[in-house]
């Protein structure tokens, strides 16, 4: 096998030849680099991806920010005064910086940073007259409509990760953080041979200069006008709150508002300690996105699911009327109250007038696990999007959970009664409530949620819900009657120019009731909405006007 030996020989000779080239032919060159010189890597940051809203409006982009640096050894100090006046800083200040830099005379030091094009103008026109001055451009993150998008888009900050170069920025909050891998891109670099004093000897011979690779742009399904309007309306309330609006035909989220907010620009630009303390210690927690991160009891808006559950599995028929509501229900030595005396009613009226006793009586036909299972298919108890930081799952109680909380036998039918009206252990976030509403509005046909166009739609757990037509139409009729019926809890919304289907909720909480309204319209756009005001009080009284103002402001008064 002479061929085999020949291949071996050829491989070894190849290595030897390359060795000879490096060590003998080019040995002196490499030795000169190695002994007194070394290679400096200068990183060139990659521009981060731009984020736009559904209409192409820019929410965050990069603007050039100019940095003036000086190399002490090459700078003519007689020009100090003139340069200082061109930059627009006091001459003494420049002199002081030059003095401090004399220990490292060959390395550039920053004189002024974060200048815009206008501020840099006078110096850049005269730059050729002064040696040792460098103007660098770095991309800087600029947020538009920042206060309204602070929770969704988030902000960036300097990376503290191992291996990050100096000044590398990374996402810190919101989609900037969770989708950092798409937005960030790859930084590039150039290599210079620098001597022991830091002086640039030459660009490294033959070494690759790697160009930065820009990040990936993203398009949100959010409508900026609607988002801004909603935030403004929520901000007018004295209590914190949140609103979620989605298109139930497409599953696209149009608005994810949470109040109060903060200005992401100040975060990205580097916030002062006092400013940070003010935001982070504010009892209303402006950094917290209530739209998807909060966990509230849903209160009576959950009756939509209870009613659908009872109808879907045939526990009740649409015209079934249980014993009347006398204002409370007595079970095992406990009184389960209703907020009013409703008399005898069917499920449509029970939804419209939000009668508790109706559900106390009927839910006993079903079971805790049945209701829990049904609720989970509406997206409760799970993360719906998974790309928003801190998205809460909420909590759907079932037998297993109740046993672990109270011990087997430590709880009973009373807990099921409480669950049927959205109280007790049950916790949800506003996004989940908007989705629930959208499911009813679409008869269960709503596609998976979408927030970022470039990312595939989220999983839709309701796709195998198979809601019966009669269950949906009965629940929707209840939502219509809540607005237009006799003594409906949302009659204040009957003056809206479009037919509105809704359900109010007043979720009991020790620090004051949460005010909920969920609902949808079919015309002029298929929108589902959920609004909550934290400890706001009565849903019909507090949250309903907000719904009205948001929809009226977005769609016009309907002429």
């Amino acid at each position: 096998m002479a061929g085999f030996s020949a291949v071996f020989l050829l491989l070894f000779l190849g290595l030897a030849a390359r060795l000879f080239h490096l060590q003998s032919v080019r040995g002196d060159y490499y030795r000169s680099i190695s002994t007194s010189n070394h290679i400096r890597v200068i990183y060139r940051p990659a521009p981060r991806g731009i984020i736009r809203d559904r209409n192409g409006e820019i929410l965050v982009d990069n603007v050039p920010s100019f940095v003036i640096s000086a190399v002490r050894s090459e700078f003519d100090t007689t020009a100090t005064e003139e340069v200082a006046s061109l930059i627009g800083i006091p001459a003494d200040s420049l002199r002081a910086r030059l003095g401090r830099a004399s220990s490292r005379p060959f390395r550039p030091f920053v004189v002024v940073d974060d200048l815009d094009l206008i501020a840099i103008g006078p110096l850049s026109e005269n730059l050729h007259r002064f040696g040792g001055l460098i103007i660098d451009v770095v991309p800087r993150r600029r947020y538009y409509h920042g206060m309204s998008f602070c929770h969704i888009v988030g902000y960036v900050g300097e990376s503290e990760e191992d291996g990050a170069f100096e000044g590398e920025i990374t996402g810190r909050a919101g989609l900037e953080s969770t989708l950092n891998y798409l937005l960030a891109g790859q930084p590039g670099y150039t290599q210079q041979v620098v001597d022991a004093m830091g002086r640039v000897v030459s660009e490294f011979e033959g070494a690759g200069e790697v160009a930065p690779m820009p990040g990936h742009d993203l398009t949100l399904t959010i409508d900026t006008g609607l988002q801004e309007l909603t935030c403004a309306i929520l901000d007018e309330e004295t209590a914190p709150g949140a609103a979620v609006i989605l298109d139930y035909k497409t599953g696209e989220i149009l608005c994810l508002a949470s109040s109060p907010g903060f200005d992401p620009q100040t975060m990205a630009d580097g916030i002062s300690v006092a400013g940070w303390r003010e935001i982070s210690q504010n009892p209303e927690r402006p950094m917290f996105s209530r739209a998807w991160a909060a966990r509230y009891p849903p209160g009576s808006v959950y009756k939509l699911i209870s009613a659908a559950y009872l109808l879907q599995y045939g526990f009740i028929t649409p015209d079934f009327r249980p014993d009347p509501c006398y204002g409370s229900y007595h079970l095992g030595g406990n009184d389960f109250g209703c907020w009013s005396v409703h008399g005898r009613l069917d499920v449509v009226d029970a939804l419209a007038r939000s009668c508790d006793v109706f559900f106390y009586r009927t839910i006993q036909l079903g079971s805790m696990d049945g209701l829990a299972e049904f609720s989970r298919k509406f997206g409760l108890g799970r993360r719906l999007l998974n790309i928003l930081p801190g998205e809460s799952r909420g909590l759907v109680p079932d037998r297993l959970l109740m046993d672990s909380l109270y011990g087997s036998g430590g709880w009973g039918l009373g807990n099921l009664l409480n669950l049927s009206i959205g109280q007790g252990e049950l916790l949800v976030n506003p996004l989940q409530m908007a989705v629930m509403t959208g499911i009813f509005a679409s008869g269960g046909e709503m596609p998976g949620l979408k927030l970022v166009r470039e990312i595939p739609a989220a999983e839709a757990p309701w796709s195998d819900l198979e809601l019966s037509v009669s269950a949906v139409s009965t629940v929707v009729e209840g939502m219509r009657e809540a607005v237009y019926g006799n003594a409906g809890t949302l009659s204040s919304l009957s003056s809206m120019p479009w037919e509105f289907f809704g359900k109010s909720g007043t979720a009991e909480s020790s620090a004051g009731d949460h005010a909920w309204v969920v609902g949808f319209i079919r015309e002029p756009e298929p929108l589902a909405i959920a609004v909550v005001v934290e400890h706001g009080g009565h849903g019909g009284a507090v949250a309903a006007p907000i719904v009205y103002r948001i929809l009226a402001g977005y769609l016009g008064d309907g002429g």
Binding site: M1, G3, F4, S5, V7, F8, L9, L11, F12, G14, L15, A16, R18, L19, F20, L22, Q23, S24, R26, G27, D28, Y29, Y30, R31, I33, S34, T35, H38, I39, V41, G163, L182, G185, Q186, P187, Y189, Q191, F204, A207, G208, V210, M213, P214, G215, H216
Partner: protein
């Protein structure tokens, strides 16, 4: 019975390599703070010598009998590592203080199993026999790739291809089989493509191929070479990066190019006689990454220069040629292919690793066997050397 004779030249070559390795690891370890790298390496080497003896004295019949069982066992270990692997690259199985890298041992399994399979094919030829050998080896190779360890998986494929040649299947035949891969790779540079096509033409001329075969092979490969860059350019830059980092995680887009440049500077600055032992400037400046593992050759070449580098490479060449000689004289088919496999193991590793430090091969994270710091690699290389010695000693067997 004839007297068993140890190949003293092979032993000497091995000794020179191990000595250079210890010296280099000691020098490199002085810049590594924390662990006591050198002492550990000495310990591994002591164990390695025992393993070498074991490999050299085992009954070859036994090795042949257990070849397939060994391969299956290694595959299971590799599978475990895919799910429970630890360490910086996730390639280690961690048992308390012991970190085992199964992909290193998988190379032994591949060589031994291939030797047995090819030997069987010699005595009982089968249609598509080569295909069966590759099919049998593919689980181990794929699992190694998934470790993730593309470098080792590639080395396995190359060793297998060389063994196919050794087992009597013409090299041109092998070249034709893998030509689509070469075609795709050659599309990066015109020179590569010209060389590749020239080789293809020579092979086809030699085989006196018919016109349809000419059209099929030359045309097909040209199409691949043309379309590869087009498809590549259709991809987004970030998709390209993802693809390359998926295929080869070691090629970190910031790090890899930078490491090679530093390595070239270190080696080049060694000159003819070197900077002097323990005097390497690049190493001391911490510019050299992974200097006690993957880039150990750079440390050696910087400090001992062209002279020292040639000594080490020469010792490797000598080892490889003595193994090849053992393969030639062995009267047993299994022994012959086994020894050839051992020779290929060393040549492939040396060429890929040293080639990487010299900037002529891609960065793959393959260690310089017998020299780099690392227990798994040292033990498996010593065992393979032992198996080769075994064949050299028992060439009359069977």
């Amino acid at each position: 019975m004839t007297t068993i004779k140890t190949d003293r030249v092979m032993l000497a070559a091995l000794a020179v390599i191990l000595a250079c390795g210890l010296l280099a690891v000691y020098s490199a370890s002085r810049a590594v703070s924390g662990e006591n790298v050198f002492l550990k390496q000495v310990l591994w080497m002591a164990v390695g010598i025992l393993v070498f003896r074991l490999g050299a004295t085992l009954a070859l019949r036994l090795v042949e009998d257990f070849a397939y069982i060994f391969l299956v066992a290694i595959c299971l270990l590799l599978l475990l590592t895919v799910f429970f692997g630890g360490g910086p690259a996730g390639r280690w199985l961690i048992f308390g203080p012991l970190h085992v890298q199964p992909s290193e041992f998988a190379k032994i399994a591949i060589i031994v199993a291939a030797a047995r399979a090819f030997a069987d094919l010699k005595s009982r030829p089968r249609k598509y026999g080569v295909l069966l050998v590759f099919l049998g080896a593919s689980p181990a190779i794929l699992l190694t790739w998934l470790q993730p360890d593309l470098g080792t998986a590639t080395a396995m494929v190359i060793i297998l291809l060389m063994l196919t040649w050794w087992a009597g299947y013409g090299p041109d035949w092998i070249f034709l089989v893998v030509s689509p891969v070469f075609a795709a790779l050659s599309s990066t540079k015109l020179v590569f493509w010209l060389v590749f096509t020239a080789v293809l033409v020579i092979i086809l001329l030699r085989r006196k191929a018919s016109i349809p075969v000419w059209l099929f092979i030359l045309g097909g490969n040209t199409l691949i070479a043309v379309f590869t860059p087009m498809v590549w350019n259709l991809l987004h830059p970030y998709q390209q990066t993802r693809l390359t980092t998926f295929l080869n995680p070691a090629a970190d887009p910031h790090g890899a190019g930078w490491n090679v440049i530093q390595s070239e500077v270190a080696i080049g600055s060694g000159g003819i006689w070197g900077q002097g032992y323990l005097q390497g400037a690049q190493k001391g400046l911490a510019f050299l990454p992974a200097r006690h593992t993957d880039f150990i050759f750079s440390v050696w070449a910087e400090e001992t220069g062209f002279a020292g580098s040639l000594l080490l490479l020469g010792a490797f060449a000598l080892l490889a040629f003595r193994l090849l000689r053992a393969a030639k004289v062995s009267m047993s088919e299994f022994g012959s292919i086994l020894a050839a496999g051992c020779a290929c193991y060393f040549v492939v590793h040396v060429f890929i690793n040293v080639g990487m430090t010299l900037g002529i091969m891609p960065v793959t994270g393959l260690p310089l066997v017998l020299v780099s710091y690392g227990g798994s690699q040292l033990l498996s290389a010593m065992f393979i050397a032992g198996l080769g010695m075994n064949v050299a000693r028992n060439w009359r067997e069977f």
